[in-house]
């Protein structure tokens, strides 16, 4: 159930399975904060019908493991799971999931937010959006 705590994969994931896997780690978890990123159908004024993701796999894995380790060291939290899909997703589909469990909610919120913000800076993943004008590589992501 749920696979490795940190991973990239083609197939979709289940938020319920990932939260259950996290909760199985400790009964001292009182607050769980998740961030789920989905493909919107509208981006920067253009219609978007699909987003293709590419990764530098060996470096992405190391960077994501590093994110998890740094979060566990920095924040007062108990467990972290990070899943990013590497495939072509259609509008409305799931892309990325961060799950953070802590005794208290404040640390879980802080850590979850830090992880998704930092993932965007450190993990070598790129997206190309399909639009009516053809496929365009997104050059940067806020």
């Amino acid at each position: 159930m749920g696979g490795a705590t940190v991973r990239t994969q083609e197939e979709d994931f289940s938020i319920e399975e990932e939260v259950d896997a996290l909760r199985a780690v400790s009964r001292r978890i009182g607050g769980i904060v998740t961030f789920l990123g989905c493909a919107r159908d509208f981006s920067e004024g253009r219609d978007v019908s699909a987003i293709a993701f590419e990764q530098y796999a060996s470096m992405a894995e190391t960077a994501m493991e590093g994110l998890r380790a740094e979060a566990l060291e920095t924040f007062d939290i108990i467990e972290v799971r990070i899943i990013h899909r590497i495939t072509t997703v259609n509008a409305g589909e799931q892309i990325v999931l961060i799950v953070v469990g802590a005794e208290h909610r404040a640390s879980a919120f802080d850590a979850c937010r830090w992880i998704i913000d930092t993932l965007k800076q450190r993990v070598p993943i790129w997206k190309r959006e399909t639009t009516p004008d053809g496929k365009i590589w997104e050059s940067q992501h806020p």
């Binding site: 530098y56 990325v96 965007k120 070598p124 993943i125 790129w126 190309r128 590589w137 997104e138």
Partner: protein
Amino acid sequence: MPDLTANSAPTGEITVLFFGSLALKRGQRKLTVAAEAELTLRQLVSQLGGAQWHSFLLAVNQEQTNDLDRLLHANDEVAMMPPFSGG
């Protein structure tokens, strides 16, 4: 690939990987170059036309670096990457 120590260059090779829009611009995702003695990351990027790229990130052996004076050795894996856009 022979098992070379760092000082045995230039007999080995350096692998260069291109990702995202940089792979599209170059029309290739991977190439190898000879590991010449005293080759720096700056020289490698320059040889590959880095001056024309709008903005890019570099990694050596799966670790991001900004140290353009870093010496490259046989068996190093250099990645030339556009800004990340995951998440």
